[in-house]
Symmetry: C2
Subunit: 526 residues, 2 copies
């Protein structure tokens, strides 16, 4: 059994705090700068690389981080997790999302079934369903093929699948495997559902309702919206709706649904993109084969997260450097900056994944911790961000660590040469330039044009954003967040912080309020 | 002439630091909680209200903030700005975006013209052009009407106009003034332009190229993309392209363009949504009348920003509370949380507006300041965010000030009753509940379910998101950012921090690199 201890009780953490800080600016601009870029690099799955040459670390810091990983038993904790220990202490649940894409350890038996088999079987059921939809075996009431799929879900049932869909939409079109357009409804704001419903051909649309419990307010509300719209159009909901839910949910047996696919309590919403939550919509949109390749990429990346040596384990190393930046160097937020328009919503997914997992003030034993935990995560694609918030990143008073992502090739392969270079080359040149500009800076006597440098960044770089590399990217961040949770000794798999607002919202709707809350409700004429 | 001084040299700032901190949790939960909500409210333009009852302020703090506003001469500095002083000290330029929507002070003459007249004239030219497009007087080469407008721009030429378009798209559809669909191309990533071009009917599309200088790399690259696509389709670019640019730019006289509309150096990109940069696309998409109503809302809000009393001036008060939170209470970031799906990209616009304006380390005289300036800005619409990063906002180790935005009514007015309430009511109940949950918290012996409270928020609340209220909202934030820049004594109107990356990117493309930069370029095979 691993020993779960608070970060600040570890001898290696105290030692890490004492290690001489790295002068990143001097390192990057110095004669060893090129060597750093060549050597501070770790291979990842699917041909990706994690390069951390522009992070404020050197061999002494890395050695201390490696010691920290060992004392914190990161590897052992991950082993416990994938072997089925109850890692989600708050909700007393196992954490099994890795089993949706491979098996790293022992068979995990729960609810009287082998969970790997259970997840594989659901993927198979989704595959058969998707194939039948694509082939025309499953059709609408008029015997016509479906052309559009609409996912109804919120939070983890929305952000991950939506980001993944956008990431692969152009790739699928280019590579001849685009089957159906996907749309997403999430917000309880009625304008969200209305606008999506107005934009689609209802008679040829399949709706996927995603709610593990079958009780999520927003999702049930939007379910009613859709059922109402279908009825109004004279369409039967059981010809158009499928559910992704748990076996015990009210949706599992509802007559409104053509089919239900199952997930369970061992996969948290924000970790569910590789389960049926992502699987149904991605298999319908791009075909089951693409979804399998996505799972393969994620599964390969999980294997690299099990590597012994912390300095050769990309997710663990990324996690360690992040905790060093957060707790030792004192930086409060992290920007995720993909140089890929297809990853436009990937930062929003990571924002949930990271902030909901590690935005905690108590440890696994519900005792307050006396150090900072998860940072603020934000980001937009480059080069767009360069013309927006990069000003603050370069010259603001706070240092914000950066995580770049870039690919050598575009997805659509449609490009033009302007001033002797293609757009994709310009895109790549920009990310390379930004890394060095942030870390190395540039002195100028005019202090308004001075760049102090010393602003740390890493980059994950790949050949092309495709199903495998996307799966690997997703898994990398899931595992990074998990390792950081281990280091902070928090439970990264519950979200008690979302409850109070829900309780109070219900009271507002029931007019069961007093004091300030009554007045706020009045402002909205409730 | 106003006296420009660093924040930490002001006696009222030192006094503000000494004022007893407000116990927000006790205030909101206490017997005066309801009274606070009723009284800590300031009317804004277009029927909006700024309510700050859940901010960590009380009458003593407010009085100190009011003194700070006076000693910092915020009102006088704004007067100087709108009367044409050279407020953008770095680039030695006036700051005239307010003149696009009204005139608060004297006539401002520059480049031998009255600038208000100049901006009005461009709006008039755009109006005539848009009317001619809508009526079919201006048509494509085959004599057919245009159906789609595509804006090509990046940063301020993209984020603001795109956010405004999305904010009004459903409203316009509902209110019978939707004329043409708009799309946007921004990124130098070739997949951005390719995907948009693949999604439109080229022969019936008008492209608006927006670049003040006519030299923005991304925009010129995407211009070539579009010209190439038009040629390939046998279409003449001068039948399909218009420019919004400065009179001295190469685009102003280019034979590739059907028409050029003009802006000038006195309007920064991030402040240009009310100029032709937003005007062309919004007038084409929704008709000139809608754009005028949007300008009216912004103009009305500008008037409220000129109100003497800092506690009755919503933008000034918002700015003061923000600086108090940043510099006195020490909070590093701010979340913008619109409970309106239509405002999905408004936080991304504010991220640029705020972080590019005030992410500075030197004052107007290019001397380093010894206090923190602009915070990190991020946000997503509610209730989506509730199922994502709110966990950290409620229970994370850092306090993040929040800015809610909400409307009593939806835009499309299409709603369903579920469990006795409409979706719009649920949306409003949620934002009311969140405000009280964040500020008031809730004690629980299980520390994992404990809510500490004391997490400050404000809300801007309105009846409906429409052209007037959107204009007022936009102007509110522009003026807030301006006042914060005055308080920090920084130049909020230049962006020298974006230059170094551009210089290095050009060197990468020219293979004129050494050391680490050469190695980073190699990673991308450049």
């Amino acid at each position: 059994m691993a020993d779960w201890k608070n970060l600040d009780t570890l001898a290696s953490y105290k030692k890490l705090c004492e290690v001489k800080k790295t002068d990143l600016k001097a390192e990057i601009n110095g004669e060893n700068g090129a060597k750093r870029v060549r050597e501070y690099s770790v291979p990842m799955a699917a041909g990706l690389k994690y390069n951390y040459a522009a992070k404020a670390v050197d061999d002494d810091v890395l050695s201390a981080l490696s010691d920290l990983a060992k004392e914190a038993q990161l590897k052992e904790k991950f082993e416990e997790l994938y072997n089925g220990a109850v890692i989600n202490t708050g909700e007393k649940r196992m954490v099994l999302h890795h089993l949706t894409r491979g098996q790293l350890g022992k068979d995990v038996i729960a609810d009287d079934v082998n969970k790997r088999d259970f997840y594989l079987n659901e993927v198979k059921r989704i595959e058969e369903f998707a194939n039948d939809v694509h082939s025309g075996k499953i059709v609408n009431g008029a015997g016509e093929k479906f052309t559009t799929v609409v996912q109804i879900g919120i939070g983890g049932s929305d952000l991950g699948p939506r980001a993944m869909y956008l990431a692969l939409e152009n790739w699928a079109k280019k590579n001849g495997c685009f089957k159906m357009e996907a749309k997403f409804i999430s917000n309880v704001d009625p304008d969200d559902a209305s606008a999506v419903l107005d934009s689609i051909d209802l008679a040829h649309s399949i709706f996927i309702l995603v709610s593990k419990s079958g009780t999520t307010l927003e999702t049930l509300t939007n379910q009613s919206f859709v059922i109402h719209a279908l009825k109004k159009a004279g369409l039967k909901s059981s010809n158009h709706m499928i559910a992704v839910t748990s076996k015990t949910s009210p949706l599992a047996e509802s007559a409104e649904y053509m089919r239900a696919f199952f997930m369970d309590d061992y996969i948290g919403g924000r970790y569910s993109s590789t389960s049926g939550v992502g699987g149904a919509v991605l298999s319908l949109a791009f075909g089951p084969e693409v979804f399998k390749r996505f799972l393969d990429g994620a599964g390969e990346a999980d294997k690299t997260a099990a590597i012994d040596d912390p300095l050769k384990n990309p997710a663990m190393l990324d996690a360690l450097i992040g905790v060093y930046e957060r707790n030792v160097l004192g930086y409060g937020s992290t920007a995720v900056l993909p140089y890929s328009q297809a990853l436009s919503r990937f930062p929003a997914h990571l924002q949930q994944l990271d902030m909901e997992s590690n935005g905690k003030s108590v440890n696994r034993d519900n005792e307050p911790v006396s150090y900072v935990t998860g940072p603020v995560i934000f980001g937009e694609p480059g080069t767009n961000g360069q013309h927006s918030f990069y000003q603050l990143l370069h010259q603001g008073t706070d240092i914000i660590p950066l995580q770049f992502i870039g690919f050598k090739e575009s997805q659509l392969k449609n490009d033009v040469v302007i001033e002797d270079s293609k757009s994709q080359k310009k895109l790549c040149a920009n990310v390379a330039a930004q890394i060095v500009a942030f870390a190395g800076g540039k002195d100028n006597e005019n202090k308004n044009k001075n760049f102090e440098g010393n602003r740390p960044s890493s980059i994950i770089i790949g050949d092309e954003l495709n199903p495998e590399s996307l799966g690997a990217l997703l898994s990398h961040y899931e595992n990074k967040v998990m390792f950081q949770g281990f280091l902070w000794n928090v439970n990264s798999f519950d979200q008690e912080g979302v409850q109070l607002g829900n309780v109070l919202a219900k009271r507002v709707l029931a007019h069961d309020t007093e004091g300030a809350l009554t007045e706020y409700a009045k402002l909205f004429e409730i």
